[in-house]
């Protein structure tokens, strides 16, 4: 246990306070706070590392395997860092019929996301881009739909993706200067 504590990233006071506040919302069974804490951790660090699982388990007096089971059940809880820009392409019926699989392949090719890190989750070599399939994004009327980080894009076409990528590259250049 000590070894893992040493491995933990320096946790801010405010983070711990927030975790305590979440746990206090579940007076009957602390266990119920597992999922909110996983969300908290992911919001803060971008993904849930093994240290995160360990920390949450200790906080809730659980065995780490119990938290690991939950963390691996939800695809949205990430076990590893994804790209800086995350494409989430809908693959539910309307979008699939409207060509979301082609869109997915196109993004994969354009962003050079070559490393498969999960089932249909691809990350580029430099870690800038990742692309994955998600289920219905609730905009079936404008299929195919995708999300870029927290932003929703409807009626996606290959030209639209080119435009987005060009914009992102310009942004990136600006950042670099």
């Amino acid at each position: 246990m000590n070894a893992t504590e040493k491995d933990l990233p320096q946790l801010e006071e405010s983070f711990i306070e927030e975790a305590e506040r979440i746990i206090s919302q579940y007076p009957v069974s602390k266990r119920s706070a597992s999922l909110p804490l996983l969300h908290l951790w992911q919001r803060h660090f971008g993904f849930v590392s093994p240290q995160g699982v360990q920390w949450i388990a200790e906080k809730l007096d659980l065995e780490p395997i119990a938290v690991e089971e939950i963390a691996t059940f939800y695809p949205m809880i990430r076990q590893r860092p994804l790209g800086h820009y995350q494409f989430k392409v809908c693959r539910t019926l309307s979008c699939a019929l409207a060509g979301s699989y082609e869109i997915f392949e196109y993004i994969k090719k354009s962003c050079k996301t070559v490393n498969e890190v999960g089932h249909h989750v691809y990350v580029s070599e430099d870690g800038k881009f990742s692309v994955e399939f998600v289920e219905c994004l609730a905009a079936c009327g404008n299929a195919p739909v995708m999300m870029l980080n927290e932003e929703e894009w409807m009626d996606v076409t290959q030209t639209k993706i080119d435009a987005i990528l060009n914009h992102l590259i310009r942004e990136k250049r600006k950042e670099e200067f």
Binding site: E63, P64, I65, E68, E69, T72, F73
Partner: protein, 568 residues
């Protein structure tokens, strides 16, 4: 029930005070204790509801769906009174959907169908789903022959698969713990091992990750499942997902000859089955005895049998002359021993006896001592072995038959070992007969043994100072003999011979019987172990009114008799 191990659940043993309720089982009205699990209800009346995840000693998970059955409840009229038919029996309203038997408890008027069309369809469906991702590697799978998936596929399955897609690939040969290998593709996700680890072994490190189509059984990264009870998960695993590193690929299970016996690694005396083939023991598995070990045994006991096939074992009687070992004929070896024993005055003879011997052997030793002693008491002692009790099955006494030794009157629980050492050093004792014990173990080293004029060693694996022994007699291990032992709770239990002694080694009771004949006890010749037991029951009051045949497979409780003699 007074099992030495406390099970968190006992679904098969309802509380004795549970009232009886009427249940209709496949059209037959029967009476069962209220609240009894439906799987157990069926079992009590010779029916069988197939199940994977249900285990009588673990919590109910209800996730395999194999135990689906058709349930009905009494039809009620407008006044909520049961409607009865011409024979005054309640009319049944059958539920349209099947229920899982493991999570359903018997209540008054409940009706059960275990083999209707609906039930059979359910079973076929569940089997088909379970077999979708299961690899077809039965020919190289250790579980084959005792695999629930094989058995149920044959008994309850459809006989063919409609699955044409690709099977899900999962990890193979996962190191599950120091004694277990996991094959995830074979796993049917019953979660028995997870519940065992959590509820009984108290080492909650196993779980399912990636729940969904890719559900994978795993040990939490960085942890190992190394509990001393871990191998029980291999037993309760209904398929070949968990296999014992010790047993895997050693023997097809259908070749194993099974003998009922008890574990001799500690005083708990867990009931076991010895699986052997052609005089080689391949594995020990626990045998259910609710009074002792329930369904379990510890890994130490399970894997502790390999010494019986050790290359260092003495397999023929021999004598030591000028440092070399000469094989002897049994008759000659025994004649020499008997002659020598009779030459010494009784006060100069000591018996170092093992509390790992059976009661019958201890009784014959006692008889031998009495004959040689001619009225004076011959020094005898056992070597005590202390371990650490773990609160489950492991007992603090590592000798399996200490209570038997005390009951028969051999030794003083090892309190006189120092005395024996001093007496040999002072040449007060000149003849030592060590039976299944190496005196070196308790500090009676070579130099002390040198001062003996005559030293007989009988046993399996000699210690470093065995060259001091004048005569070596090759004895039998626990798997090679029948007999009885008394466990720490005062239960008399039987061992059954599973294999023959290697080489010219002989069962110890036969060696002792022949010695008895040679020193002059001729009134009774024992041909079978039953004769020895029956003679013992006549002479030793602890075993009074018992006979070999009345001691069943589950043993007999002697705790009251032992308490009366303040042995327990």
């Amino acid at each position: 029930m007074s099992a030495l191990i406390k099970n968190p659940f006992n679904h098969d043993l309802p509380p004795l005070e549970a009232p009886l309720v009427n249940v209709q089982l496949d059209g037959q009205w029967v009476k069962v204790p209220k609240g009894l699990n439906i799987i157990e209800v069926a079992k009590r009346f010779g029916k069988f509801i197939p199940h994977y995840c249900y285990h009588p000693k673990l919590s109910i998970a209800g996730n395999c769906r194999m135990c689906l059955f058709e349930m009905g409840m009494p039809k009620l009229d407008a006044n909520r009174k049961p409607v009865v038919d011409a024979e005054e029996r309640p009319v049944i309203n059958w539920l349209p959907r099947p229920q899982i038997a493991c999570a359903t408890q018997a209540t008054e008027g409940m009706a059960i169908r275990t083999n209707s069309k609906l039930v059979k369809d359910c079973q076929e469906g569940v089997m088909e789903f379970l077999l979708i991702n299961h690899p077809l590697d039965c020919p190289i799978c250790d579980q084959a022959g005792e695999c629930r998936l094989q058995e149920y596929a044959y008994d309850f399955g459809k006989g063919r698969s409609r699955f044409v897609e690709e099977k899900v690939k999962k990890p193979k040969r996962v190191d599950f713990g120091p004694r277990i290998i996991l094959d995830d593709e074979r796993c049917i996700l019953c979660s028995r091992c997870i519940r065992f680890a959590r509820e009984i072994a108290k080492q909650d490190v196993i779980g399912f990750v990636n729940r969904g189509s890719y559900s994978t059984l795993t040990v939490y990264p960085g942890r190992v499942f190394d509990s001393n009870y871990s191998l029980n998960t291999v037993d309760i695993c209904p398929v070949g997902a968990l296999t014992s590193k010790d047993f895997r690929f050693k023997m097809r299970v259908w070749f194993l000859r099974e003998a009922k016996s008890i574990c001799t690694e500690c005083a708990t005396g867990c009931n076991i089955i010895i699986g052997s083939r052609e005089n080689i023991v391949y594995r020990l598995t626990p045998r259910v005895n609710e009074e002792v070990n329930s369904h379990w045994m510890c890994d130490q006991g399970r894997l502790g049998f390999h010494y019986i096939h050790s290359k260092k074992r003495v397999t023929e009687p021999a004598s030591h002359l000028n440092g070399s070992l000469f094989p002897l004929e049994w008759s000659e070896a025994l004649r020499t021993v008997a002659q020598k024993l009779m030459e010494f005055p009784p006060s100069e003879i000591a018996f170092l006896v093992s509390a790992r011997l059976t009661c019958e052997e201890l009784y014959l030793v006692k008889k031998l001592m009495e004959t040689l002693g001619k009225g004076t008491e011959i020094f005898s002692e056992i070597i005590p072995r202390k371990g650490v009790a773990d609160g489950l099955l492991r007992s603090a006494d590592l000798n399996p038959n200490t209570k038997g030794a005390i009951g028969i009157g051999i030794g003083k629980e090892g309190r006189r070992i120092e005395e024996l050492k001093n007496k040999i050093r002072a040449k007060e004792i000149n003849c030592l007969f060590a039976i299944h014990e190496n005196p070196e173990e308790v500090g009676i080293q070579e130099d002390i043994l040198s001062s003996l004029s005559f030293y007989v060693w009988q046993g399996l694996i000699p210690g470093p100072a065995v060259h001091k022994a004048n005569i070596l007699l090759a004895g039998a291990s626990f798997a090679e003999k029948s007999g009885t032992m008394i466990n720490i709770a005062g239960r008399l239990q039987k061992l059954h011979k599973a294999i023959l002694c290697p080489g010219r080694a002989r069962e110890d009771w036969r060696i002792l019987r022949d010695l008895l004949l040679l020193v002059g006890v001729k009134e009774r010749v024992f041909e079978k172990i039953n004769d020895v037991f029956d003679a013992m029951s006549k002479e030793i009051d602890l075993f009074e009114s018992l006979s070999w045949n009345t001691v069943g497979d589950l043993g007999i409780d002697l705790s009251q008799k032992l308490k009366n003699r303040s042995i327990l």
